[in-house]
Assembly symmetry: C3
Homo-oligomer: 508 residues x 3
């Protein structure tokens, strides 16, 4: 059908390529294509394990209140995994699309069939449960509800439910999994199911169900945790927000800095239109600088912490909050830095393909023909090659760091190995990248000729934080200081009472 | 020994480099090398945790019928993890290579020692078990067998076993793990062990053993599931087959399309031999087109689904099968598209290294010397830079999408975050890549000059599906339509009875 | 504050850029920055689930001896997960920084509160526990200690503890998790907790606690395993050491080989200073050769194993240790090879940016102007394009192999799929890469003109092992040989007694 469609398309291009007709045709061909390939799919795209429906053993029965998407999907999954499911509905005869093998009853009837009742109903409609109080008495109510925004209500839905039907044992669970994922079996997003509840036996039973469904339950303690559990699925990369803000600010500042130096300046003085630099040349300055700065910011808190400990002469005092937070952001900062480095590499590698560059090189050649001789300057060769090599090695180690920070990889290494990679290799990366920038600068570094409106080349800014970092780090690893630091970290205190010193020494 | 070998090699190169002698020598040196490094290995390559054999506590005894590879490996692993193992064999004195610590008895004797019996025997030889009926009565038989091809027998091996020895409680398990992996401890492939059985207590006990061996059991319900479990290890990327077929067809078609335009056409008209284009130039057209088309096909089903829902005015009706299947293939389609994009990037970056390109550039320079002046055309600079920049950013986001689709990564994000990345970022990627193609085309887009035999440049084809997609999507997100769609997805139905509307509203 | 800082910096650059002042300023600005962004962080960087402290249910109480970092962190985590914790300390009133909700008592008092006691004390100070013998009698002691170096003591800490306080049930656990990870919740490194102990009930209870803390317990059998468990966190990539040594040796040898050919030789004969080649040109020869050789070494053991089996005529004999070890190193060898391949790609793609290359290309152009005509040689075009294409495809498959060897990916494929990717695709990669090298060599292969001091071009060395490999493999897959091999692998033995043949046939 591709051919057919292709032929059609040229015809229409000739008739003046009417784009609308295009869409119609393509839509039509798409549908043909689809209908034609369904049979292939039928053969090929079977779900990994389309599991059995009926089971001959005496099964546990679970009751689900509410026949909405989530209720149905959960029921479907449970039946797959060998439970028998009873739905409770306002009007059983009206409910549609229910998984086969499940029966639908009124709420009260359904409740009698099982001592585990999953409440798949929006919080706003919980109140009807009060009428069922005596039926529900002593049973396990599983609250699966989510809210539309974080901290929507004073108390969590689960706690509200517990107050509403006092006789029951409420457990919060399943709110982190999606209906579609349950039904399609494509559990790409989190398989983790956070569970909490005040009755540990009830919680255990629910967690067993979770396990049977092939999900991984995580006990989060008592029902007070419900609030956090309900907020969790509403979060959007909380740990990433600050690093992203920071890098955005950094990029914007650097971008304008470079625009001033490389677009406005030449325009003002030489009346040259160099706006096209904003597409590649300037981003290719901004990204590496941002990458190097962020990478340095990954290792800065460690250094600050060391200084603090030296200054305080003890490790037995908490770090300020901002430092703790910063430490928890390091991974994210590092990954964003890696992203920028990756972009820098791509932007650099396309250089020779750019029209502007080819044009420039041509001119150089042409001019060269005039003044015949042009010997190879070994120093220039060394210079260009060395900073390229440093850059490549730095990037390679950086990628390595990125890979080891993948959850599955970091899970397979022990703590010592993880520390080795993240600190030793990390510092090596930082050193290589800084060296790369220094080598790139070469002689031009801070030479007044490069100043425009007293602004130094952008890469000079890139060097500030990393160099500071490395200098301080270098001071810290000098034997004398390092010894004190190690002793402090082993529990020694400068002005200590015997006791805590002892504790520090004896305890792990 | 490297040096030695190196020296040898040159000698032989001189004597006319007799390749056979090479092989011999290399084999010899390889063996030297090996024997020499064994001692290093002894030190270094110890298995992560070569665990203890003997255990002082009262252990559970497990009986394994059959002393084949798998039986032995499983026994080995079990002894490692603190079980005591008894092998049952046709002729105990003959059995070899058994893990130390295990004893071998006749089937009936072995069976008496444990109430869990693992049947590590090919289905064809199950029949002898009938003789042991009374010994096996009430015991747990674990069927670990696999078949040679999918659906080889009418009923699954486990069910067959259950019929054969009625008194026993049969559990299907362990068929997904490999003997070699068990023994070497390198459980790279699936740690998942699917278990099913009609007696839930028996199943639980087997699943506990699985857990103790450091594997993750997945309950698949009753013995009816055995068939799927036995087919599972025989499957070869079922979900990938259709996407791969599709992309293969696409690539072949595009390849011939380009060959016609860029090899045959110039040959016919200009008698120029441009066959060498088939190595890089043409693939570098095919891959990006395939990538963009497949990426569009990832998001097409979502759009189609939306249209269907609008048309039907309800979400309470199943989608046609082909759409469901398509939706389940999206991830695979996307990853294949990423693969093509990756190839496109590499093929593009090597351009300046190609002999042909260097030759062309040289000629341009030479010709330019004739007509001296060649001013920089800012518009061309803008054009080349902008489409390169768009391409790079698009690829960067694409890689990001790929990374988040890694199981371990997608497991650490919640559903909202996953949706955000996969839909928002995904559409951004699609837009950037489409813009990249449009910018690449630039003015030439559909200009008759580019037509050869009425065939437009290949990249025009690349734009058909994505543009259609984006136009429809754009229409769908217009407020008026979007509002209706949202209401439908919240359970509202155009021509609904009160009830289901209510259900839709109240239930999750 | 960036601006402020920027402005400051130029001022100082002008005053002669006193770097020390720089550091001071940057430090100052860093602190401003930090204090300014804390409030953003407060909003954004909240820990994923900062969980509840108090829990209304009747909780299990756990006693922790020692108030060091690890003791405190573990206590903190346990309180989070709904346990109540009692610390035992030498001098309770002195202990600081304890998580709120925990009480501190003397050792003996604390011990009375719980029957699970976690001993978070260095082995050197265990002896005081003897005094508490009668209090501890019958209780579960959890040994969480680690040593400073592998096999520091004759017996493991856990066994030593068991001897010290005979009446107790000692379980080894938690030594693989880090204090910081427990407290920060950033459990990046291993979540696995190896547990062992002679009393299975005690072990079970500890493993349940581990599970409740959101970690994954792995039963390692009896207390004899404690030694390995205590050594585990002290290991540093044991499986990687040999592959890394090997590749280091390989690289160093190749590097000097190339230096001799490409730096010393021209210097001696043409007095040309080509030292700058050591930065990029030579590494870009070393890396691909190392990559190809290592890749071949990944598949060599498989071939050797096959030959051994053919030679012995049976599979029922163990392989020599070095072969087993080698087989377990294959993954690491392959990944290192991929690393080199990645570096080779980057080094190749920067070629056109290098000063030296641009200089050479300019000269070629200049010289060409003299002798006007320079027709396109199709063969050269084919040659350069084909080896580039082969290289790209080879690298692409190589990356694919790398991705599938990620733990999380290889966990989602079944054994057959894993084998397919790792063997079929692996061999295809090897073939493509070898072809790439052969095509690169082209006509020059072994032509005496390329010999310098009788040394052939480096890439010739790269071909030795892969070609040998492929030739042998090719012989092995010839029908006649392949059939025998298959039969052997199915359990057939050349000179076999009926019995074991039968076993081989019947058993899995």
């Amino acid at each position: 059908m591709f051919k057919l469609q292709a032929i059609l398309s040229y015809k229409y291009i000739f008739n003046g390529c009417n784009i609308l007709l295009y869409i119609v045709l393509t839509a039509k061909y798409a549908l043909n294509l689809i209908s034609l390939v369904v049979d292939i799919m039928e053969k090929t795209c079977t779900d990994a394990l389309p599991l059995t429906m009926n089971s001959s053993e005496k099964q546990e029965t679970i009751c689900i209140f509410g026949t909405g998407d989530f209720g149905r999907s959960l029921g479907f999954k449970m039946i797959q995994c060998g439970y028998s499911v009873v739905f409770g509905s306002r009007n059983p005869q009206m409910s549609s699309l229910l998984p086969n093998g499940a029966e639908v009853l009124s709420y009260s009837e359904a409740a009698q069939n099982s001592d585990i009742i999953i409440v798949a109903i929006h919080r706003e409609h919980y109140d009807f449960l009060t009428e069922l109080a005596e039926v529900l008495n002593g049973k396990i109510l599983v609250d699966v509800s989510n809210n539309l925004k974080i901290n929507q209500y004073p108390e969590s839905n689960a706690e509200y439910l517990a107050q509403l039907v006092p006789g029951t044992r409420v457990v919060k669970a399943f709110n982190t999994v999606s209906a579609w994922a349950l039904q399609s079996g494509a559990l790409d997003a989190s398989r983790q199911v956070f569970a909490c509840g005040n009755d540990s036996k009830a919680k255990q039973r629910v967690m067993d169900i979770v396990r049977t469904l092939g999900l991984t339950p995580l006990d989060q303690g008592s029902l007070v945790a419900a609030k956090e559990i309900e907020n969790y699925p509403l979060q959007l990369f909380p740990m990433w927000r600050f690093p992203i803000y920071l890098s955005a600010v950094l990029c914007i500042f650097l971008f304008f800095y470079c625009v001033v130096r490389e677009v406005i300046y030449p325009y003002v003085y030489k009346k040259k239109d160099e706006t096209f630099r904003m597409a590649i040349s300037i981003p290719n300055r901004v990204f590496p600088i941002a990458a190097l700065t962020l990478l340095a910011l990954v290792y800065l808190p460690g250094v600050i912490a060391a200084i603090l400990q030296l200054y305080r002469g003890t490790k037995y005092r908490r770090f300020p909050d901002w430092l703790d937070h910063w430490m928890l952001c390091r991974k994210q900062l590092g990954l964003i830095a890696l992203g920028f480095a990756f972009l820098h590499v791509l932007y650099t590698l396309v250089i020779p393909i750019r029209y502007y560059v080819r044009w420039k090189l041509r001119n150089i050649t042409v001019t060269q023909i005039a003044n015949k001789d042009n010997p190879l300057s070994t120093s220039s060769a060394w210079h260009s090659d060395s900073y390229l090599a440093l850059g490549i090695l730095g990037f390679f180690l950086f990628v390595l760091l990125g890979i080891t920070s993948l959850p599955s990889v970091s899970n397979t290494v022990n703590w010592r190995e993880f520390r080795f990679v993240q600190s030793k290799l990390g510092y090596l990366t930082l050193i290589l990248c800084t060296a790369h920038t220094l080598a790139y600068g070469g002689k031009r570094f801070l030479s007044p000729s490069t100043l425009r409106w007293c602004l130094p080349s952008a890469y000079v800014l890139a060097l500030i934080i990393p160099c500071t970092m490395l200098v301080i780090k270098f001071i810290l690893i000098m034997p004398c200081i390092d010894k004190t630091l190690t002793r402090i970290r082993q529990g020694w205190e400068r002005n200590s009472k015997i006791s805590s010193a002892l504790n520090g020494k004896t305890d792990i």
